[in-house]
Amino acid sequence: MKGSFALVTGIHWGAVVIYVVATIMVAVGQFFDKPNLVRRGFIASVPGLILHGAGLIIWWRMVGHGPYIDRFEVLSSNAWVLLLAFLLFTIPFPRLKSTGIVVLPTAFILVALGLFCSPEMKTLPPTFRSVWLVLHIIFYKIAFSAIIIAFAFSLFYLLVRRGRLKRLSNILPDLPGIDIYSYRFAGFGFTFWAIGMLAGSIWAYQSWGTFWNWDPVQTWSLVTWAVFGIYLHLRRFFSWQGERASWLFVVCFLLTLVSLFLTPLFETSIHAEYFK
């Protein structure tokens, strides 16, 4: 299928509209205790996901490489992986649906942000041809998805403790439950982040003969991972939980944003082409 900018942006806007509708249905359903509406909201997000996926595939064919260079394609594919991972995670963890009011808006905001960044067809540097690069990126996107879910639970914890979100009490776990969900998904994020770094090291070794060269993106990624490690360590061995653990996770989340979206903008590195 031959694509065009108009087609890809049109499809993406279509997906945004569907996501917005799904978000409204889920939010209204959750706040007014209408489980059927919530369920329909999640079902409504699936065609959006399919349409969005089709848009990404057309874009992939147009530019000749995966969605990992241009700002638009990075944000759009992050949103797609986030929503897919979220919907898949809700199968074994049905309580996760409560985070839909954070995940769904995040997804459409990411896509819309990408569209506002003016999609550009970027060429691929020769060092970016490796299956390890694809794995490196996929695992980071999965980690990012898990981190957003954990962030949603940390936010819920902080709000519920302050007497907010009473309307969501039916669908949210109790306070200790919210805390544990946050902990678990932070653990998933930490693990997938580590796998992403490992895949990146293998890619670097295959391409340059060196597996680590302390470029700013790598260094910040390592720092973020280490801070996640400290968070998990404090929870596991120093019984950190509840309020202070949630605040620490908020810091971890901010670090994640810096690491994934800000550091590539500051310095030239082997990640120089990414997100510019």
Binding site: T123, L124, T127, Y181, Y183, G187, A194, G209
Partner: protein, 438 residues
């Protein structure tokens, strides 16, 4: 104290970890021998006796020193023994049967063991051990192996790190088109590990052809080199093709195409007094068709600074090399002494000197890596992550069933996140209640 007990004792492990950490901290904060094996400057400033001690202890090459290898080897031994005991412990745990006495948190249900079994099996629990009116069902048994896997990963990663430290051999060489380069420790940048005799260098190498290709937006699309290696004097040359992201094997070495490439200009200088000299001026290839490749160097034996630039295409219309002249500027301090654009093979004045462009050729950097153990290190890390994934994401849960006065006492046990998995147990109990109702 027996050796295995000594090696796995907490104090030994902490001492070894501390020693390795201090060594690595020292190596990352004090300049070490770089690629090329050059001794760092700080060693030269020490009194002679201390220089001897520094060399003996390998303080300028900590990671490549023998004592560091011994520390890593001891740590590996300790981990291996610990891993073996993890294996035995996990096996014993899987087969163990809880005591007959029911803990307080057990729930009493009026259902026969045979009626209860299908309910727990439907929820994914499998019988792990039974006897003495106690049954133990486990879900996600693999989770119990997580710690063992993590240990195996650590053992693998540390073992191959040791191999890496021992066999480290990396050679960076700059090749210039069509020239036969003799590979000897003097004219390549080389770094070697403890086993310094390992990995004999090829005799010569020639860069027969360098091919950069560009996208329409001037970005580099592809960079490849056609190399010819000879193993020994008079030997048959063997062709090796490499490209960015496409390495090749030559003997014990992996051959990598580095990012750096450009044009090497051979220049002949003549001073006003008739003294002549030749230099090779390496300039990086331009990044854009309307941008130049810039470089500078101090002219050997003078205080003149030579700055040069060239474009890919004379007309600046393409990234393909096309008769682009070299422009030179000569400085003394900040004073510009002269500027010239050089036609090939013509003597041209440049400040107090005259200069002739003898020839220009492609140059590129090539890396030979004969180090062993990288794949093993990566495998070790993958095993560590598999261990973390199986113990963190596949948390093993148990349902212990004890027969008591015609009914059952059931207990739910989760190694981690007990609260998180409480619902699955509650669902089973609810199903029991429904069965009772029927």
């Amino acid at each position: 104290m027996k050796l295995p007990k000594f090696l796995t004792s907490r104090s030994t492990v902490i001492t070894l970890l501390l020693a390795i950490s201090v060594a690595l901290l020292f190596a990352s904060s004090v300049p070490q021998r770089s690629l090329g094996g050059k001794t760092p400057e700080w060693v030269g400033t020490l009194p002679e006796s201390l220089q001897g001690i520094t060399a003996l202890l390998g303080l300028d090459n900590v990671v490549g020193s023998g004592w560091f290898a011994v520390l890593v080897a001891l740590f590996w031994l300790s981990l291996t023994i610990s891993t073996l005991s993890q294996y035995s412990a996990t096996r014993a745990l899987l087969r163990s049967l809880p005591s007959r006495t029911a803990p307080q948190e057990s729930i009493r249900i009026d259902v026969s063991p045979d009626d209860f079994e299908p309910l727990v099996q439907a929820a994914g629990f499998r019988l792990a051990a039974s006897g003495n009116e106690v049954r133990r069902y486990v879900k996600n048994r693999i989770g119990y192996w997580g710690n063992f896997l993590l240990h195996v990963g650590l053992v693998t990663a540390v073992f191959f790190t040791l191999i890496y430290v021992l066999t480290q051999h990396r050679v960076l060489m700059r090749l210039t088109g069509q020239e036969i380069s003799r590979l000897s420790p003097g004219n390549v940048q080389e770094i070697r590990g403890v086993m310094s005799r390992q990995g004999k260098l090829p005799h010569t190498v020639v860069l027969k052809n360098l091919e950069p290709r560009f996208w329409g937006n001037d970005k580099l699309e592809y960079l490849s080199s056609e190399l010819y290696f000879t193993e020994q004097p008079g030997g048959e040359p063997r062709r090796v093709d490499v490209a960015l992201s496409d390495k090749s094997q030559y003997g014990p070495f992996l051959v990598y195409q580095a990012n750096a490439y450009g044009r090497a200009f051979d220049l002949e200088f003549e001073s006003a007094r008739g003294e002549t000299g030749q230099i090779r001026f390496y300039l990086p290839y331009p990044l854009r068709r309307d941008g130049a490749g810039y470089g500078e160097m101090v002219l050997p034996g003078t205080d003149f600074l030579l700055k040069g630039k060239f474009y890919a295409d004379r007309e600046r219309a393409s990234m393909t090399l096309n008769q682009s002249p070299l422009t030179l500027r000569l400085f003394q301090g900040k004073a510009l002494l002269g500027e010239a654009t050089l036609p090939p093979n013509e003597k041209t004045p440049l400040g107090p000197l005259s200069v002739r462009l003898v020839q220009s050729q492609w140059w590129t950097d090539i890396l030979l890596d004969g180090t062993r153990g990288i794949a093993g290190i990566f495998t070790g890390f993958a095993l560590i992550l598999a261990g973390v994934l199986s113990s963190f994401c596949m948390v093993p849960r148990e349902i212990v069933v004890r027969e008591s006065n015609g009914s059952l006492l059931v207990q739910h046990v989760a190694r981690r996140f007990a609260l998180f998995y409480r619902e699955e147990f509650d669902e089973i109990i609810q199903k029991v209640a429904k069965t009772e109702d029927v």
